[in-house]
Point group: none
Chain length 238, copies 4
C-alpha cells in the first residue's frame, strides 16, 4: 500500500494491456493466498479463483506454481523494501531534535516491519527457506541489506557532524534496527495480530533511549534515568 509499483521493469516485451492486467491480478491474488495458506497448502485453484482467471491462465503466465511463488516473493520483497527505503529517505540530514527524529523514524520503521505485506513475506520466507534456499538471496538482495545501508549513511553523517559517537555505522545501523524492532514478532504474534500502538511506542522509545545512551553526545542528552516507566511487558523473538 506504499504506492510502489510504477517502475514495473519486471515484464519483458510489449504485452497487451489485458495481459499485463491479468498477470498483475494473478500475482496479487497469489500473494494473498500464499500468505493465508502457505506455499504448499495454497492451491492453484484458489489462486485462480481469487484472481478471477482460469487456472490454465496461470500456467500460461508462470509455467508452474513454484515459479509463480518466486515471482510473487520477489515482487513483494521489492515493494516492502521500497516502502522502507522511502521511510529512511525521509530522515532529515540535519535533525533539530535527534531524539525526536530517531523516535519518529523508529515508529515509521516498525510500522513498515509490522505491515501485513512485510510480515507475510517474512513468514513465507521462514516457511519455505528449506524448499527454496535461493529465495532468501533474491528477496534480501532487494530487502534487508539496502535498508541497513540506507540507515548507515545518515548515522555516519551524524557521527561526522559530532551528533553521534560511533565508529562502525553499519553495526550501529543493525543495532538500531534491532533495538526498535526485535520485539515486534513477539508483540504481533509473528505479524498475525496488530500490536497495541502504545506497546510499540514504548519499545521504540526505549530503544532510541538505549541507542542514544550508547552513542549520543551532549547534544541529545536528557536521558534522565529511563524516559518512562510504561512497562509494556515484552518477550523475546521466536
Amino acid at each position: 500500500m506504499g504506492g510502489v509499483d510504477g517502475d514495473a521493469g519486471s515484464g519483458g516485451e510489449a504485452y497487451s494491456r489485458g495481459r499485463i492486467d491479468k498477470r498483475q491480478a494473478i500475482v496479487r491474488a497469489a500473494f494473498d493466498v500464499f500468505a493465508r495458506d502457505g506455499y504448499a497448502q495454497a492451491s492453484v485453484d484458489a489462486i485462480a479463483a481469487a484472481a478471477g482467471v482460469a487456472k490454465p491462465t496461470i500456467y500460461n503466465h508462470f509455467g508452474a506454481k513454484e515459479n509463480l511463488f518466486r515471482v510473487v516473493m520477489a515482487d513483494v520483497g521489492r515493494r516492502a523494501t521500497a516502502a522502507t527505503l522511502e521511510v529512511l529517505g525521509a530522515f532529515p540530514a540535519e535533525p533539530d531534535d535527534l531524539r525526536a527524529e530517531l523516535t519518529q523514524l523508529g515508529r515509521r520503521l516498525t510500522t513498515c516491519f509490522a505491515d501485513p505485506v512485510s510480515t507475510s513475506l517474512r513468514r513465507l520466507l521462514h516457511a519455505e527457506i528449506v524448499r527454496f534456499p535461493d529465495l532468501l538471496d533474491e528477496v534480501r538482495a532487494g530487502a534487508a541489506t539496502p535498508v541497513i545501508d540506507a540507515l548507515a549513511g545518515p548515522l555516519a553523517r551524524l557521527a561526522t557532524a559530532g551528533h553521534l559517537q560511533l565508529s562502525d555505522p553499519i553495526r550501529a545501523s543493525n543495532q538500531f534496527i534491532a533495538l526498535i524492532g526485535d520485539e515486534l514478532p513477539a508483540l504481533t504474534a509473528l505479524g498475525t495480530r496488530p500490536a497495541p500502538p502504545e506497546q510499540i511506542d514504548a519499545v521504540v522509545t526505549a530503544g532510541v533511549d538505549t541507542f542514544l545512551r550508547a552513542f549520543g553526545t551532549a547534544d541529545n542528552s536528557p536521558a534522565l534515568g529511563d524516559p518512562d516507566p510504561h512497562a509494556a511487558t515484552t518477550s523475546h523473538p521466536t
Copy 2:
C-alpha cells in the same frame, strides 16, 4: 506428554527400545520430517518410515497429523527452552569481569538460538502460525518469555549491586537479546547455514559493548572507542 527433556541431543539414530519408546521415536522422526518438509508437505508416510513404524501406529498414538504436530512442537519448544535456561542459569551471581561474562553469555545464547532445533522450531512456527494460531502461546509459554525473565533477574541484581545502571530490567533483558541475536537470522540464512563463528563473535562483542555503553557504570568501562574493527559485515532481519 511423555516427559521429553534433559538429554537434548536432537540426533535421530538409535530409536526403539522398550515400549513407549515407539512414541518417542515417532515424535523425534516427526520433528525431523516437519523441519525438513514443512507441516503440509510432510507426509505421514515419510514420518512413519523415518520412525520405523507403520502408518496406523502413528494414528493409534496421536489420532491425527495435526495433533502429532502440536505434540512435536510443544516437545521441541520445551527442549529448546530448557537448553537456553541452562545457559542463563550458569550466569554468575557476582561476576568478576562483567564485560567478559556478558560476552560469554552472549556467545552461549547465540549458540542456542542458532541450534538446528531452535531454528527449525522458529521456521515451523512462522510457517504455521496462521493455521495454528494457538501454537505460539503453547510454545512460547515454555520458550521466549521465561528466557527474558530469566535474564532480567540477574540484570536487576547487577543494577541493585551498582554494576549496571538501568530501571527496567525486563526491557534491558529484551534489548540485550536483541543486540546480540537480532542479526542471527541474516547471518545463518534463517538457520539453514552455519554462520562463521568470527562473525557471530563480532556481533556479540559489539552488542555487549553497546549494552555496556548504555547501561554500564565505572566498573566496566574501557569502552575505548569501539572495541574492535573486525568488520563482519551484516545485514538486517528477514
Copy 3:
C-alpha cells in the same frame, strides 16, 4: 482364454488372498481398457472402475501407470505365447497324413493369432513401441521366438525322417508361419473384426499347399494344381 495362468510365478512373496485377487483383477481390467483405448487414452480412473478397486490401490500395487502397462503386457505376452506353444506341442511326432496335420496346425495357429488377446497385444505393441522400446524384447522373449523354435523342431524331425526336404528349419518355420498367417491382419482388420472362417481356411490351405510344393516329398503330394479356387480375396500387410 486358453486357460493359461496357473504357473503364476509373477508374484513375489506371500500375499494375502485378497491382495493377489485385487492385483489380478487390476491386471485383467487394465488389459481390457488398454486394448480398447490405447495406453495414453486409457485413464487410470477407468481401469480402477473396471477392476472394481479404488485408484490408489492401483498405485499401491504398481506405482505408476507405465509400470502397470509393462506388467500387463508381459502378462498377456506370456499367456498368448503359452497358448501358441500348447498348439505346437500338440503336433504329432509321426503324422500319418502330413498335409492334413499341417493344415490343422495352421488352422489352430491362425486361431491363436486371431485371438482377441493376441491381436490386442499386437496392436498395443505397435502403438507403444516408440514410447516403450524395451517392451518388444520383454514380450517377444516370451512370445515370437519360442514359437518359431517350437515349430522348427518338428520340421527338422520331418526332414530327417525324409518327409520334408529342407536344410534350414528355422527359416522354414518362419516361412510356414508367414504363409498361413501373413494375411490375417488384412482379413481381420488388424484383429478388430472376426474374419470369415472360410477365408482363413482358404489361406491356410493354400499356404500349406505352397509349403508342401516347396518342401514336400513324394509322400505328401496330390497338390494337383491349386487345391481349390475359392478366391477369398486378400490383401497385403498393413
Copy 4:
C-alpha cells in the same frame, strides 16, 4: 487433396513458401509428431511448433485434431503406396533371369516396407484402429490392395508365359509378399531399428527360393538345396 507425391523425402526442414504451403507444413509436421508420440499424446501445440505456425492456424485449416489426423494418414498412405507401386511398375514384363528379378523386386519391396514413413504409418494404424475403424479402409484403399493387385498382374503374365506354374495369381502375390516381408517387423523392431541389410537379403533370397520351388518351372531351377547358409537368425511376427 493438394496433390502430394513423387518427391517422397519425408524430411522436415524447408517448409514454408507461398500460401497453401502452410497447410503442407502442418501436415508434414503433424505426421512427424504423430509418428513420434502417437495420436493421443501428440499435442496440437507440438504440431504447431514443429510446423512453425500458431495453434489456431491448425484449427482454421483442419477444424479438429481428429480431422488433421485423418488427412495426415490419407496423405501418408498415398505416398507410401505410390512408392511401392513405382517399384512394382519397374518389374520387367519379360525377365531374363526370373530368380534374379524376383530377388531384386523383393529387395526393393522390403526397402519400401521398412521405410520410416511406411512403418510409422503401420504403427499409427495399429494404434488407432479401434478409435478410427474407418481409417483402415481409407488408407488401405490406396495402400495394400493395389499393391497385391499390381504384383498379381505380372505373376499371371509369367504363368501364362510358362515361367511360373500357378493358378491363383492373387494368392501367389500374397504369398510372395508374405515370404519376403513377413519377418520384417521382427527384424526391424517394428520399424524402429534399421535391420542389417544382410539379414533382410537372406530373408528375401530364401523367400524367393521357396517361392520358385513352389511355383517355378524348369526355366528357373537351380534350387540346389537351400541357396545359401547365411543363417541370419529370424523370428516371428509380432
